[in-house]
């Protein structure tokens, strides 16, 4: 009888090509996603070594971080961004890698297009030179972000050298209350364990609340695993997963799909498997969340106040004070009714069709407040087209929300979409770091419907009062 094992270990063990004494494991990678920012130096490395891409059929490229969200049919105006996207084009062409470039019907944010195209499947190992690769773990696979030297490793050998991380399980049980979404669950967890609380771990999310979530909601949770330091997050696949995958472009079809599902059903943690750390939370304890500081662990329920200085450990006071000064906030304040200048609904965290539907449902028949700029940036061309087909775009236009073209956009402001210095933005993205949305920009992270509520009121609002 085998020892009870965790889902993470089952997938990892099935992908170890070589485990040698004194070396990290050589782990085979099933799917490698690349984009324009973290790949150019890796391709240069291949050229210097005189080698090609190990298996081009396992590599998929898209342009997302630098792309404009207006007039994507025109050449990119910003010279350095244009050069980086052109370099990706040239590299993909030279090395024979499939690229979903601007203008391609499959283009979009790398972590949105993988799942929607059926390239992301249960039981896989997936890497990408982007920390939010953890998103794909929602399908029950081992997916994590890597640096450019590691991108080069994977391009060159389809393997990565890694030490096995520790395992953590975070269970959420119970019924979510009105106005609380998966974004609030993950912001709540990070606020409890801090932005470094899961460093060194791979996290499995479990419990009946997680089981009750849609695939898109699960992706939001896994997406932000990195914001508590975790290497990645994953959720055991189930019928919700299989229903989502069925019929997608690159997923197995017909009998092959049914056969795959029967194998995927074995992808779960055995009863009695041991984790290095276990945490359990109750869904009823979670309010709509908002961050006040400059890391994602600095979040509160919308009904709570920013911690007072007396509540902060002494060694963290310097950083804490610096953070609040940057945000233009005071200890002990409430965020309710705080004025906002910008609303950004987008990013690999919350730019899927379900997010856009939730926002449209909420704003139908409402208007954005005067003086607030509202940007909706879909995660992919497919999401954009679907939003049009479902009539969501008409709802956004009537509300005064601006729908743009797909890309990473104001999540990190590598394109023109930046929040001006000193302005407040309520954002559905994943990071509120200093300058993340532009130099001096002040970011409140929240769920899509909390962002929509702020757009309508022009200030931070408890969404529960409006639904």
């Amino acid at each position: 009888m085998n020892q009870p094992n965790t889902l993470f270990d089952k997938i990892w063990d099935a992908h170890v090509v070589k485990s040698a004494e004194g070396h990290p494991d050589a782990v085979f990678i099933d799917r490698h996603f690349i984009h324009e920012v973290t790949s150019p130096q890796a391709f240069d490395g291949l050229r210097k070594r005189g080698i090609g891409v190990f298996n081009t059929s396992r590599t998929t490229a898209t342009a997302d971080h630098n792309v404009p969200t207006k007039d994507q049919h025109l050449p990119i105006r910003e010279a350095l961004s244009r050069h980086q996207v052109e370099t990706l084009r040239k590299n993909c062409d030279e090395f024979g890698v499939e690229l979903y470039d601007l203008g391609h019907p499959f283009q979009g944010i790398v972590h949105i297009i993988g799942p929607e195209l059926g390239l992301t499947l249960p039981g896989m190992t997936i890497v990408c030179g982007d920390s939010h690769t953890s998103t794909h773990g929602a399908f029950g696979n081992v997916a994590f972000g890597i640096g450019t030297s590691e991108v080069e490793q994977v391009l060159a050998t389809q393997c990565i050298l890694q030490n096995r991380p520790k395992r953590m399980r975070i269970s959420i049980n119970g019924q979510l209350t009105k106005g609380v979404t998966s974004k609030d669950i993950i912001l709540y967890i990070i606020s409890k364990i801090s932005a470094s609380g899961a460093t060194g771990y791979f996290v499995e999310y479990a419990g009946d609340t997680i089981r009750g979530l849609s695939m898109e909601a699960r992706m939001t949770i896994c997406n932000m695993s990195i914001e508590m330091g975790a290497r990645g997050g994953l959720i055991a696949p189930d019928d919700v997963t299989f229903d989502y995958i069925r019929g997608r472009k690159f997923a197995p079809q017909g009998d092959a799909f049914e056969q795959a599902v029967s194998q995927w059903r074995a992808l779960k943690t055995d009863d009695g498997a041991v984790f290095d750390r276990e945490l359990v939370y109750q869904a009823e304890d979670i309010q709509p969340m908002i961050t006040y500081g400059t890391n994602p662990g600095m979040g509160i329920g919308i009904g709570e106040h920013i911690p007072n200085l007396s509540e902060i450990p002494a060694q963290e006071l310097v950083s804490y004070t610096k953070s609040l000064a940057y945000m233009g906030l005071e200890p002990g304040m409430e965020l309710l009714n705080k004025h906002v200048d910008y609303v950004f609904i987008g990013s690999c965290t919350n730019a899927r069709i379900e997010d856009l539907r939730a926002v449209a449902d909420f704003v139908k028949g409402k208007q954005k407040a005067d003086g607030v700029e509202v940007w909706i940036v879909p995660g992919s061309v497919q999401v954009s087209n679907q939003a049009k087909a479902e009539g969501l775009v008409a709802v956004f236009e009537a509300a005064g929300f601006e729908l743009r073209e797909p890309g990473c956009s104001a999540c990190l402001g590598m394109n023109e979409d930046k929040i001006p210095a000193g302005k407040y933005c309520i954002s559905t993205s994943n990071r509120n770091f200093e300058g993340r949305q532009g130099p001096g920009a002040r970011t409140f992270l929240a769920s899509p419907i909390m962002a929509a509520a702020a757009a309508v009121m022009g200030r931070v609002t408890d969404v529960r009062e409006l639904v």
Partner: protein, 202 residues
């Protein structure tokens, strides 16, 4: 492919006593558009180091010329707990390296940053919170204090005598001492990898 190596380093150090320094601070996203590994050093900690008009902030510790005077120009950065959180951008490690640092000392590092630093031949030296405090206090009273990082014996010591040992993965230690990188090792497994790939393809 042989790169540089790391053995022993004795230099002054720049103290940056801030916790949770994320990679967006180390190198902001708008400076990630280069397609080579060079030139990131001038934008290291860009938004902390420069005024909006492009002049250097004189009160930012990295800009203090005294750290780089004399024969022991600072090649060690000492930073608060949880250094390198956030994005996977290796550009953060490249910027630190390009600026002239060969080691970063903190009491905790984010995982991806640690890997990126090691792959860039910047040594992440993880010390206890107590030792980190000792370092900050000592550097506060004597900015010219010399610090020695000895990789073969895995120790970090102050010229005043305080010292601590640090952990490093044996494989990575070998890589740093000899200038090996991971691809050299993985390429030696090519045939096994090809067989694995074939067995796992539909």
């Amino acid at each position: 492919m042989s790169k540089e190596t790391f053995h022993t380093l004795t230099t002054k150090a720049v103290p940056l006593q801030i916790e949770n320094i994320d990679t967006d601070q180390i190198i902001p996203a708008r400076f990630l558009k280069a397609t080579t590994r060079e030139g990131f050093g001038e934008n290291l900690f860009r938004d902390w180091a420069y005024n909006p008009d492009g002049t250097k902030k004189s009160d930012f510790v990295l800009n203090d010329p005294r750290h780089y005077e004399g024969e022991h120009s600072a090649q060690i950065l000492v930073a608060g707990r949880n250094f390198g959180m956030g994005s996977s951008r290796e550009h953060a490690a490249w910027a630190i390296h390009d600026f002239g640092f060969k080691a970063v000392v903190s009491s905790f590092f984010a995982d991806i940053f640690r890997n990126n630093a090691l792959n860039t031949f910047v040594l992440p030296v993880q010390v206890s919170d107590e030792f980190l405090n000792t370092l900050f206090t000592a550097l506060d009273s004597n900015p010219d204090l010399l610090i020695t990082i000895d990789l073969p014996s895995q120790t970090i010591s102050l010229e005043t005598g305080e010292h601590e040992s640090f952990e490093i993965n044996t494989y990575k230690k070998t890589c740093l001492l000899n200038g090996y990188d991971d691809i050299d090792y993985l390429l030696s497994l090519q045939n096994e990898i090809k067989q694995f790939d074939l067995a796992h393809s539909n």
